[in-house]
């Protein structure tokens, strides 16, 4: 062998050795690649930030490891558009080779991403996107999909019952004109009418409406109360304009109408408004007190439910991967194990039902101005006034009968008592 040949041979051998060592060492410190899809720009940017921050805080608290595995956390911007979300999801799965994708805000995004999870055989966890049918009538289409947050109508069912208990007989509903709006109001209507109440009106301003001038005057005068479902910037504007129009009726709403992501920017016009959700930052438990204080110190604002559900999702992934000794077990086993989990989350006890949606407490909360958690200023908080434990996505209704009826839509439940 010539000198040159020996040198090159040595280089090749040496290189191969280094390469082999690297592959071996990579296999030992398993990496968990997580793709996160949220609107970090656009009109829902503030919500997207809470979603990312919630998950990130758990990672920071646990040295960026989940269940012992190092986490590669990749965030992609959906701009709140399903089209963009699908492209980014494909990029995450095909280019970044993530083992799971998490996120999606709007129902439309959820409906767009779920088929991607099926076609690419990748786990899709939705802590926020709550479109009912993904874990109801369309469940079989999405075997890789699981929810760790809620379904849109889940909190509405107990709230409907609560409304009857308050003595309300006729309620006018106004909500954002899209799937989420239909499902939250639909669930409320079903529950409220099942215990003797009547929904006498349904108004649907388009999502993103900021000027409710055309809609507010049409609210029926003989309603005992108003039920609203607002999201994003709508949540901020609607109560202001409602108050400015001289409204004196009690106001109930879906959780996103008064959630903490918008509550700090609201004024006294929302004091007394009632809503229902599986989380409130004012939940008076030791675990939540720690969570709220840490989040507030870190990000300068009170956590919203968007923060909590993502924090809890990280916690759940942590538990599952821990049981698998720090390795991702593959898409199907992962889903199975996640679905079998029961944890004590910040928001209370959470387990997953057989249709891959959480079972949890639903809190009826009222906006009050007070001091909480040793903060020395009077602020607006969603104070919990009643807890309904162990609520699943069908609420007080029988699952099989529920599934026989169509999914909540603009026209379902039909407005029998609309005048």
């Amino acid at each position: 062998m010539t000198y040159g040949f020996r040198r090159s041979l040595g280089a090749v051998l040496g290189g191969s050795l280094v390469f082999a060592m690297n592959t071996v060492s990579v296999a030992r410190a398993e990496e968990l690649r997580i793709g996160f899809l949220a609107p970090t720009t656009g009109i829902f940017a503030a919500v997207g930030k809470d979603m990312v921050d919630g998950f990130q805080m758990y990672l920071d608290d646990h040295k960026n490891k989940l269940g012992g595995a190092d986490v590669k956390f990749i965030v992609e911007d959906t701009v709140g558009k399903p089209d963009t979300a699908v492209t980014k999801a494909r990029k995450l799965i095909l280019e970044d080779k993530v083992q799971m994708m998490i996120g999606g805000l709007l129902a439309s995004t959820g409906y767009a991403l779920a088929p991607v999870s099926t076609s690419e055989k990748t786990v899709y966890i939705s802590p926020v996107a709550a479109a009912d049918d993904l874990t109801q009538r369309e469940l079989s289409k999405y075997p890789y999909f699981i929810r760790t947050g809620w379904s849109s109508s889940q909190p509405s069912h107990p709230l409907g019952q609560w409304a009857c208990d308050q003595g309300y007989k006729k309620i006018a509903a106004i909500g954002a004109d899209y799937a989420f709006g239909y499902e939250v109001i639909g669930g409320f209507q079903r529950a409220f009418e099942a215990c003797g109440g009547k929904i006498i009106q349904k108004i649907w301003p388009p999502i993103g409406t900021k000027d409710f001038g055309p809609y507010i005057p049409t609210i029926k005068q003989d309603a005992d109360a108003i039920f609203t479902l607002m999201v994003g910037p709508m949540s901020l504007q609607f109560p202001k304009q409602l108050a400015a129009a001289g409204n004196k009726k009690p106001v109930l709403g879906g959780g996103t109408s008064y959630d903490e992501f918008v509550l700090p920017s609201m004024g006294d016009e929302v004091i007394g408004h009632v809503s229902a959700l599986m989380y409130s930052a004012a939940l008076d438990t030791p675990k939540n007190a720690v969570f709220v204080k840490e989040y507030r110190t870190k990000f300068g604002k009170v956590p919203s439910y968007y923060s909590e559900v993502n924090y809890t999702t990280a916690q759940m992934i942590d538990e599952v991967i821990k049981n698998d000794s720090g390795k991702f077990p593959g898409a199907e086993p992962f889903i199975k194990q996640l679905a079998a989990l029961k944890i004590d989350a910040v928001r209370g006890p959470v387990s997953i039902d057989e249709m891959r949606n959480p079972v949890q407490n639903i809190y009826i909360k009222k906006v009050e101005k007070k001091k909480m958690f040793d903060y020395d200023k009077d602020e607006l908080w969603n104070v919990v006034i009643k807890t309904y434990p162990n609520v699943n996505q069908f609420g007080q209704f029988n699952k099989d009968e529920f599934l026989k009826t169509p999914v909540y839509s603009r026209d379902y439940p039909p407005c029998k008592f609309c005048e």
């Binding site: 399903p82 089209d83 699908v86 492209t87 095909l94 280019e95 088929p115």
Partner: protein, 331 residues
């Protein structure tokens, strides 16, 4: 070889390169290129109007929209178009695009220049408004999920197979439009763009010429819509929003209005920047905006016009910012 023959050769080489190289890259790149190809058909249809007839349309997204929505509604509500009837959907897509253009053209063609711009904007907004609020038909903001791709002997769910299909349509469209613009009809369009009054004096029915060009552009827009629906798998009002029409216009100007392939070049660059660069650096929008501004200021004939300008510069014919029309002279 004449410059024309060189151009044709260059285009053919590029097309061959795309056909051979792309299927061997990552799935994500295949996906992006497929999207760019589908959208390019729309941009090229706009080029017929802007580049060759001198009609700046700010509402072409409407034709993509009707083609896409029709495909989605047929597929999800009537299970139509998922087998061999896919080819019928292609035909229907072109027909519905043409039909819409036929109606809109009656309103729009009388106007010229910026008035034409405004009226096509308004018409495009009408389509958007309906897509957004006519919930029972279009599912409003949620959009329509197509779910599956057609199978007829070949399974279009396979990314590479689908890429070849879209690529095929792209080549056919390019060819068809090329034949169109080089035909006597096409040349009269260019004549109208340059000096409409003179054409009228010469006896041409300029209104009819423009109208036909508008309808043809609509047909190709509809075709791109059908392909787009299956590429993205989801159709939503976002597809017909104003910024989509603006995108198409800017892509055409960037690439070079009046060159047909310029439209495709512009589409590839913008989509590449937007989808690919956006995942690498956060300041990609400045790059895009900057490229637009610089092109409009200093390269009115777009990127495809660069060789021509180099030639002219060598001949000492250019100074500073060109006070020229946006379109290159036909060669």
């Amino acid at each position: 070889m004449t410059s024309q023959q060189i151009k044709i050769l260059a285009v053919m080489v590029t097309l061959a390169a795309i056909a051979i190289i792309i299927p061997n890259t990552s799935s994500f790149v295949i996906l992006l290129v497929t999207r760019a190809l589908a959208f390019s058909i729309l941009v090229m249809s706009l080029d017929i109007l802007l580049g060759f007839t001198g009609l700046p349309s700010l509402g072409q997204a409407a034709y993509l929209g009707v083609g896409a929505y029709m495909t989605a509604i047929l597929a999800t509500r009537y299970q139509f178009g998922l087998g061999y009837d896919f080819w019928l959907v292609i035909l229907f897509g072109m027909m519905i695009g043409a039909a819409l253009a036929a109606v809109f053209g009656l309103l729009a063609i009388r106007a010229t220049g910026v008035y034409f711009l405004m009226i096509t904007l308004a018409l495009g907004q009408c389509v958007w408004g309906l897509a957004y609020r006519w919930n029972s038909l279009t599912n409003g903001d949620n959009g329509i999920n197509l779910g599956v791709r057609p199978r007829f002997g070949i399974d279009l769910a396979n990314e590479v197979t689908f890429f070849y299909l879209v690529f095929g349509f792209f080549v056919l469209s390019l060819l068809a439009m090329y034949v169109l613009v080089r035909s006597p009809f096409g040349r009269s369009l260019t004549g109208i763009r340059e000096r409409e009054l003179r054409m009228r004096i010469l006896g041409y029915n300029t209104w009819l010429h423009k109208y036909i060009a508008f309808v043809i552009a609509g047909a190709f827009g509809g075709l791109s819509g059908v392909l787009w629906a299956h590429t993205a798998g989801i159709v939503s009002p976002e597809n017909v929003v104003l910024t989509t029409s603006v995108d198409a216009l800017l892509m055409d100007v960037l690439g070079g209005a009046g060159t047909l392939v310029g439209g495709a070049v512009g589409a590839f660059i913008v989509i590449g920047l937007r989808e690919y660069l956006s995942t690498l650096v956060p300041w990609w929008q400045y790059v895009l905006g900057g490229v637009y501004v610089l092109t409009i200021l200093y390269l009115p004939t777009g990127l495809m016009g660069i060789p021509e300008r180099i030639r002219q510069h060598r001949a000492g014919l250019t100074t500073g910012i060109e006070r020229r029309k946006l379109t290159s002279t036909p060669s």
